[in-house]
């Protein structure tokens, strides 16, 4: 048997792919992934259930670090390194520092989210075995692709093929590793 990354099935509608995913889950498959042209609701809850708090927390951490850094650099500037008496205002004039602190806090949060999103999605990764599949090409347009990966403990091409056919897949294809 040649080395496989997995077997993919192509569905025409979001409902079909969601039903298929639910069915595969019930049949005990665990290494499932789906490739869709947009974020299909319910599908993600079947394939990756549970609340995902990592990225929101990362953005929050980014905001805290960003705010602390921005305030610190202003404090360093105005109170420690280059104190300048402007009309008797306190050197540590926090109301005046609030604006830049706020803006930089948001920048840091967005940057943490942006780069966190790429890292959590394992991007940039220009090559992936799934790209070799002919049927995958339309997953970014108008088809909904589901994949059972070869790492699944109960991976067996013949029975998976039969299962996909039974679920009404438009096309089934083996993806080489």
């Amino acid at each position: 048997m040649k080395d496989l990354f997995g077997i993919i099935a192509v569905f025409r509608t979001p409902d079909a792919v969601t039903n298929a995913a639910a069915h595969l889950r019930q049949s005990g498959y665990s290494a499932i992934d789906a490739y869709t042209p947009y974020a299909v609701e319910r599908l993600d809850r079947i394939i990756r259930p549970g609340t995902k708090v990592f990225l929101p927390l990362l953005m929050f951490a980014g905001a805290v670090v960003g705010a602390a850094f921005a305030y610190w650099i202003q404090y360093w500037d105005e109170a420690l390194s280059y104190p300048l008496n402007v009309g008797g205002r306190p050197y540590n004039s926090w109301p005046a520092f609030a604006v830049s602190t706020f803006e930089f806090m948001l920048l840091a949060a967005v940057a943490a989210g942006f780069f966190g999103m790429l890292a959590a999605s394992r991007l940039p990764r220009l090559y992936h075995p799934i790209f070799a599949a002919k049927a995958f090409e339309r997953a970014s347009r108008d088809r909904f692709v589901i994949c059972i990966e070869a790492t699944d403990p109960s991976f067996d091409p013949a029975s998976i093929r039969a299962l996909f056919e039974q679920l009404g897949a438009e096309r089934i294809e083996e993806v080489p590793a």
Partner: protein, 455 residues
């Protein structure tokens, strides 16, 4: 149903054309990017824009060689076109973020097809805004002194100044907008990659899309980050434009020293930003024949936002008059009368007509559906907002506390060249966005199509 002046679109009107499918949407929008030859209107438009852009390059070269004396700025009016246009451009950009981020949070269905136009617009307008104060610096080569960095001179920027806040805001705003744009466009670039037929385009869009596959995990990450980014961008843009207002409010001249400036500027951003998005949407819709994707529904909705913006702006105008008239400051009163009846009176009144009176036509649904009238009203608003930004920048300085210190601002040819040139930069950049990036958010319109199908 007969179209009368007061007929509103039915509440269940389709957001996108009913015969639009996932297949046709992806192909129609991506084909505009993948065309081997640009259409004639694109070449002509880009040519004109690029010619205007060269005006900017020449203007900047002349300005940097000779100093800002080539402009009309003088004592007492030391803030002229450059500062007024800085405010004008940043307002247009802010309007783009408001349409894109604020209406993402409200889940408005019309936002999904227009947000990319709005974001491309803002990414083109923000650099124009950023250039203006740098050109105004006098010693533009030293603009990096605004960064708080450890240097051998041992000096640091003055962090308590609204002008420095402004620099921080604009810098953060541009960086955040770029990330927001890219996080949204990533899946669409993957669509273009998969539809590309030539090797060079496959490689280009393959690299740009960073290998996006649209797997469940990737969508989950993208959706959650994008939603939080939107929730950050919406208040962010309000703060950015408010800080621009603080530049004025922190000034001590009559007419500037007013706490209403931050919200007032923001209202102006809503109306002028929406106006420019409406104009671009109408142009993109015809140029790229995207009538199925960008429908009456979108224009109707944006026209309503523009009307709301215009009403908010008129509220600010009432307060602008109320302050000096109710207060006891002689200089404030004099300055305000000068605006009303003095040298700048024609600008004052024509601007009020363009931004407040004429937009009241948008109460009529038929006007909101007529693209020609909508286009003209939007154009009028943008011109009016330019007059408004110009007027309050110069009029206050023209009539300062001491009458002996009064004087008028006369723009020079180079002032106009800076305006024409930044418009060239804006359009050049927007035309490039049109040519090389999908101008409609495919992933989000797909959701709209599915929602309508399952209705």
């Amino acid at each position: 149903m007969a179209m009368t002046l007061t007929n509103e679109l039915p509440p269940d009107a389709p957001v996108v054309a009913p015969d639009l499918t996932l297949t046709s949407l992806s192909e129609e929008v991506s084909n505009r990017v993948l065309m081997s030859r640009a259409p004639l209107w694109w070449l002509v438009g880009f040519g004109i824009s690029f010619a205007l852009f060269t005006v900017l390059v020449i203007q900047m070269a002349w300005l940097f060689i000779n100093g800002i004396g080539v402009w009309g700025v003088e004592i007492p009016v030391a803030w002229g076109f450059a500062i007024a246009e800085y405010v004008w451009w940043i307002a247009l950009a802010s309007g783009g973020t408001i349409v894109s981020a604020l209406f993402f949070l409200t889940r408005s269905p019309w936002r999904s097809a227009t947000n990319r136009i709005a974001e491309s617009m803002l990414l083109s307008a923000a650099p124009c805004a950023g250039l203006m104060p740098i050109m105004h610096l006098g010693r533009p080569g030293l603009f990096y002194w605004l960064f708080p960095y450890s240097n051998v001179m041992g000096v640091w920027p003055q962090m308590r100044s609204p002008l420095l806040w402004d620099f921080v805001c604009l810098l953060c705003y541009i960086l955040m907008s770029a990330m927001y744009y890219y996080a949204g466009i990533l899946p669409d670039l993957a669509t273009v990659r998969d539809l590309a037929t030539t090797r060079s385009k496959q490689i280009l869009y393959g690299v740009l899309s960073l290998g996006w596959r649209g797997s469940v995990a990737q969508w989950q990450n993208q959706r959650v980050v994008y939603a939080i980014m939107s929730a950050i961008m919406a208040p962010m843009v309000i703060s950015v434009h408010s800080v621009v207002g603080l530049d004025y409010a922190g000034g001590l001249t009559p007419g500037w020293h007013d706490t209403q400036f931050p919200p007032y500027f923001f209202f102006g951003a809503v109306v002028s930003g929406t106006a420019v998005i409406i104009m671009l949407t109408i142009l993109v819709r015809w140029g790229y024949s995207l009538q199925k994707v960008l429908t009456e529904y979108h224009l109707n909705a944006m026209a309503k936002v523009m009307l709301v913006g215009s009403l908010m702006l008129s509220y600010a105008y009432v307060w602008e008059a109320f302050g000096p008239l109710y207060g006891s400051g002689v200089a404030d009163k004099t300055e305000f009368y000068q605006r009303l009846f003095g040298f700048t009176a024609p600008l004052f009144w024509s601007e009020k007509i363009l931004t407040v009176v004429i937009p009241q036509l948008l109460w009529f649904p038929a006007v909101r559906r007529n693209q020609l009238i909508l286009f003209l009203i939007s154009g009028g608003i943008i011109v009016g907002m330019w007059q408004e930004r110009f007027m309050f920048t110069t009029a206050s300085l023209e009539h300062n506390y001491m009458p002996s210190y009064w004087g008028y601002f006369y723009p020079s040819l180079w002032d106009w060249a800076a305006l024409a040139g930044t418009i060239g930069l804006f359009l050049t950049s927007f035309f490039l966005f049109l040519r090389f990036a999908p101008i409609v958010s495919l992933a989000e319109v797909r959701e709209i199509i599915e929602e309508e199908r399952s209705k």
